[in-house]
Symmetry: C2
Subunit: 279 residues, 2 copies
């Protein structure tokens, strides 16, 4: 069953649609709604991998950790996704995943690899050690139009707080820190897949730090989920505050650390990525 | 050839010794020198996975990213390690890895999964955006004896700067930040494997933040390598400054972000992990 042409479906749910002929074997396809420059938005690929785990009949618990390695750009069209629970413990489950597409000769080629850990959450002592920065409320921050003519940017409402794209590409950047309010467009109740996608929403830190728009692309991203499904349900279709900064730019690669809080100030996820850049 | 009983070998090189009967298929074994409470020190397992990639005949470039998922404790003795280059691009190579040991019936069980990205580094613009904190030099910081009777702690020289283990386990912790100078004991010229291991050296943040010693163990760790082999060679057998802090403790899991600089202030690696804790 395909739901691609059902008009009432949210574009994210459309992009996440997978069919499964056997446990752990899925068929999906890229959608124009999340197209980036040379492939789908990496966040939606991460979300699709997580979706496969969440649909698997043997799933234990909820997402704790997700690492996605972007080995090659997905081309437009169908793909195969494999998700295998390689070890199930009492309270954690370890998954390995891959996305494949046929090459010019029809042979399957790996475009993406991933690992996921799911876990049963328990009531324990807890502490929030990275308070949400004090920033103006979403309504006080102006929503910006897409900064580039790529389709996926239209799938998010972005209200920058600090560290927007440079107004001038003059090589005069000083900081790599961005903060913005964000949510799906149209608004959609938050779930693990949407959260995983939003962890990859930030434009390349090298553009901000250098005020220069060089080619750049995520090589590997990791997302740690601090929220369980109850907290996601509380968050609903509200805004998230995203914060991202780089730690080091060297020899063609930089890293990015990111935090995502809900409007009530709960840290829902932290994320890290290593990104290729040119020149 | 086994080198386990050759007395002049460094214990880390001994632990990293792998034999290979076929490309990507390795045999190794745990060593008493890096034993933790219920298995080997997780850092040495991470280092061993990386070592398999570095020994592989098809290797392209140098380590860029390493994610290790600890699915189950390794038991004392031999293990099998599989390392597969699933995709090789012009300047990056993507690896999937696993460690297996036989269960009670002799069937292979996955104890560890991992992904690695290696890359050819190029000269580019660069910037250090996380300067090394201003701290006393290693010689001014007192080396501490192992805080617990576990063998692996004796394989590292640790000179805490801030955030040592609580003197009193009284539940009165306030911060999760630790800084310490560290190096292999005995000293050993730094390489990628030693750096990967040291990224996991920090005791559980929950012990510091709560001043309470609850059971805890790493579930997944990611290391991003900012240094190439030339910078590692410059670092030699000098000390590294390690810094670690948590961002969130909730429902039985916390995260840790870490940075490792050399004495000259170059950021060699950044690392992240998600850690199980009890109560």
């Amino acid at each position: 069953m395909t739901t691609a042409h059902h008009h009432s479906i949210h574009p994210l749910d459309d992009a996440l649609a997978l069919t499964s002929a056997a446990p752990g074997q899925y068929e999906g396809r890229t959608t124009p709604a999340y197209w980036n420059m040379v492939g789908p938005f990496g966040g939606v690929t991460a979300a699709t991998l997580l979706q496969a785990v969440l649909q698997h009949p043997d799933l234990l618990g909820e997402p704790l950790s997700l690492t996605v390695n972007y080995a090659g750009a997905l081309t437009q069209g169908p793909f195969t996704l494999q998700a295998t629970p390689v070890r199930t413990n009492r309270s954690t489950q370890h998954w390995t995943l891959s996305v494949l597409q046929p090459d010019a000769e029809g042979a399957p080629v790996v475009t993406t690899t991933a690992t996921v850990v799911t876990a049963a959450r328990r009531e324990t002592w807890g502490a929030a050690d990275t308070p949400m920065p004090s920033v103006p409320a979403p309504a006080q921050c102006k929503a910006i139009p897409p900064a580039f003519p790529v389709e996926w940017l239209r799938r998010y409402e972005m209200r920058p707080v600090a560290g927007s794209l440079p107004a001038q590409w003059d090589g005069g950047g000083e900081s790599s820190l961005s903060q913005l309010w964000m949510r799906d467009a149209p608004a959609r109740p938050l779930d693990f897949c949407a959260l995983a996608a939003m962890a990859d929403i930030f434009f390349p830190r090298v553009w901000l730090r250098r005020a220069r728009q060089v080619p750049a692309g995520t090589v590997s991203i990791t997302v740690y989920f601090h929220a369980g499904s109850a907290l996601l349900a509380q968050t609903g279709a509200g805004y998230l505050l995203g914060q991202a900064r780089a730690q080091e730019f060297r020899n063609g690669f930089f890293d990015q650390t990111a935090q995502l809080w809900n409007e009530a100030g709960a840290l829902l996820a932290t994320s890290h990525q290593i990104v290729y850049y040119k020149e």
